[in-house]
Amino acid sequence: MADAATEQPLHRSLGLTDDEYARIQQILGRVPNHAELAMYSVMWSEHCSYKSSRVHLKDLPSEGPHVLIGPGEGAGVIEVDGVAVAMRIESHNHPSFVEPVQGAATGIGGVVRDVVSMGARPIALLDSLRFGPLPGDTGADQAADRNRWLTGGVVSGISSYGNCIGVPTVGGEVKFENSYSGNPLVNVMCVGVVPIDGIMLARAPGPGNAVLLLGSTTGRDGIGGVSVLASASFDDQAATKRPSVQVGDPFTEKLLIEGSLSLIEKGLVVGIQDLGGAGLCCATSESAANAGTGMTIDLDRVPLREKGMEPFEILTSESQERMLVIVKPELVQDAIDECTRLGLRASVIGEVTDTGRLTVTRGGEVVADVPAASLGDGPLYHRPYTAPEGARTVRFADAPGPGTPPDEALMRLVASANIASKRWVWEQYDYQVMLNTVAGPGSDAAILRLPGTQTRIAVTVDGNGRYGQIDPRQGARHSVAEAYRNLCTMGAEPVAVTNCMNFGNPEIPEVMWQFVEAVSGMGEACRALETPITGGNVSFYNQTLDEAIYPTPMIGMIGIVKPGVVAPPAGFQKEEDIVVLLGRTGDELGGSEYQRSILGTLEGPLPALDLNAEASLGWLLRELISRGLLNSAHDCSEGGIGVALAEMVAQGQWGAQIRPEPGRDLIPWLFSETTARVVVAVGPGDLSELMELARGIGIPAAELGIVNGRLLSIRGMPDIKAAEIRREYERGFPRLMGSN
């Protein structure tokens, strides 16, 4: 079969290789028709099949005392105080580059449906975003204006969709590096809750049961999204791919959430699966294959948005806000009635069979007939990988350079896009709805009440592409450690991880090497810190032309905060408090924000990472916080001690007087990003108890100074007014976005 437009064989136009095409013929014992070919093309795409990544993911640690459901379902599920907590991250990078508002909005819709499909009510969203530099920031290039447009668009997409469906956006991070200019990252994490006995699985059991499609009509939007957008690199014609981006309708999503959860609660469904990438084709074949059944689908009964749609279009459309549910025949009317009451469309579109085949009809004719399991049983590739020779050099001419005085360097960092307050972003998100948000955006981690318990959960998402570019294995380990430290700083015990791996084109051996290294590093760190991986998402082909993004694993981590434990704020609260640094500080500027914004370079080595020290520090923080000893606590990472202190001043009521460690050069002491460190403030009367606890677990603790006055006064450099720090910290980002 040939593609009329390109005159190449149709399977190649659809993104299938000749070998894959041969295998399809073998499975069917005949030549596939157009609809069947389209189905295999989307299901065997990188995005759906994980064909390049699967062999490397199977050894990740996925078991632990809290894990109920590990990788392979719509979301990972852990047990916390008798309640099941579902967690999942999805990327929507390419759609967001093509059309930022809708791309980001539909990214939220998708991950929310993943969580709902587990039977869980979504209670929180977090977003991890990456863009190229903004106009006026270090490293800004000709793409800067577009980067600003993308940033504003993505934030507004998240805001409009997330706020409307009534799920709070409680945290996340936004960072800027040149490597994302041609390919921003939009990773969305969703957390949900469900009673343990209410967990649903993507299964279509019981031949004779009805197959219902809930939600939106099916249109031509997003056809081939997974194969056209998500599984190929961009060239300079990205705008022509805009029709492959779906359009979101948050109102229907809200109805779909309420409808799906209501059907589950009333016991009207025996299986449920969301329609995401690869649409109806994926949801039907996967749920049948998971249950060892088959399914017949009548396309005449699928409500369509437009006339004249071909079978392959209906099967692979990625129209948003749809859900597939399996209902016993005697309960079909009840299910439809409940959906109607809630204003949600529900249509019977087929039946579960015992044939093991997915049989699709239209107008009484069979238009596709394939073994259901074969669609999900895609090819598996052992792609070659090799370490790159020599590092890519980065030099920003607009960086002020090594002679910059420390106070100027600190103020430049405080106002830089990566460090300045992201209030401009998170004020656009409803972070309070549902009344569970104890600590919201701007904190080291979000803290949420866990409905039905006195326990709270802490959630964070962290990633560091700069580190990944220098050393992907070590970079991934660092990202896990940073997430871990953020949770511990809020008094939580980290228990589980979900992740999103963002990389370039896996067919390039150097990119594949980055992926293999990062997966392995992430696994090592999660094993060492006893935070098993409950699932993840792999996003490849994040590159435009020859330029791959920095390898960026995003780590979403959940921790448990015991009843009665109250996390201290980051800002300085009390005059006369003693400022203490927990952990030791090396001369480790490699990969740091100082290196980026002041020196204008990117080079290793990365800071050393001692995971045992991270675990000990975590224990110490939980102990100090549960004893109520800390008045302030802030993770010391990007920008080092200098930025940590400036943020504690900016977010608090006071200045501080600080004495650097004797005998050290000021710059590396201030800006090194040595790991396993946290800055805390304690009342003078509690200092000895803190010191004793720290000594007991072997964490160095050094008095840095005292909280007081209206200045940040660091010996060896000019004083900086607290008001000045506050102003630059708050105004830096709006200024870069061109809005005040």
Partner: protein, 227 residues
Amino acid sequence: MFPGSNCDRDANYSFEYLGAGTRYLWHQDTDLEGVDVVVLPGGFAYGDYLRTGAMAAYSPVMDSVREFAAAGKPVIGICNGFQVLCEAGLLPGALRRNSGLRFRCMPVRIRVETLDSPFTSGGMWPGQILTIPIAHFDGSYYADDETLEQLVADRRIAFRYCDAEGELTADSNPNGSRLHIAGILNEQRNVLGMMPHPERAVDPAVGGTDGRLILASVLYSLQPAET
């Protein structure tokens, strides 16, 4: 509740937190089931298609709410609920896009402008400053000059955005509302519409307690007068 309401659970939680019995009324219900107070919660009723609150204003339950209000019983519209009340003609004016053209979620300060209503009579003093969160894109109150003059003359402005000292500074107005209006009353003073979310400031674990004053005030107003 309307399809697309999303602060209904929060309102329910906060009234129950204060000891009130609650029930959900669906937009197609016409029977208010004998309730004492009607709360129109925040959210995006009917997706806010056409205009915020515009379609919800025509849902069957609103006829019953109109009768309920005409009988002098208390009705509170919060955020999207305020928008619905304006669209339904129960309150004058309209809510426009925030002047910054961005959604804003943040705690704000509002000043109590009158004690003469069931929502402000219990335990507040005139000029008292409350800290209550907002979360909206369309919260900029607009009415023509004549209506505004009437609202002022009748002391029907319930709350105005202010700073820590109670001053009506430009920076303290989060959305460009005319006269810094955060909430208004109807002529009979039994219908309140307000953009800030008092139900989000009831439980101290998640957002302060100043909202209690408003919700408790209306509950208190239902008690038979002491003799």
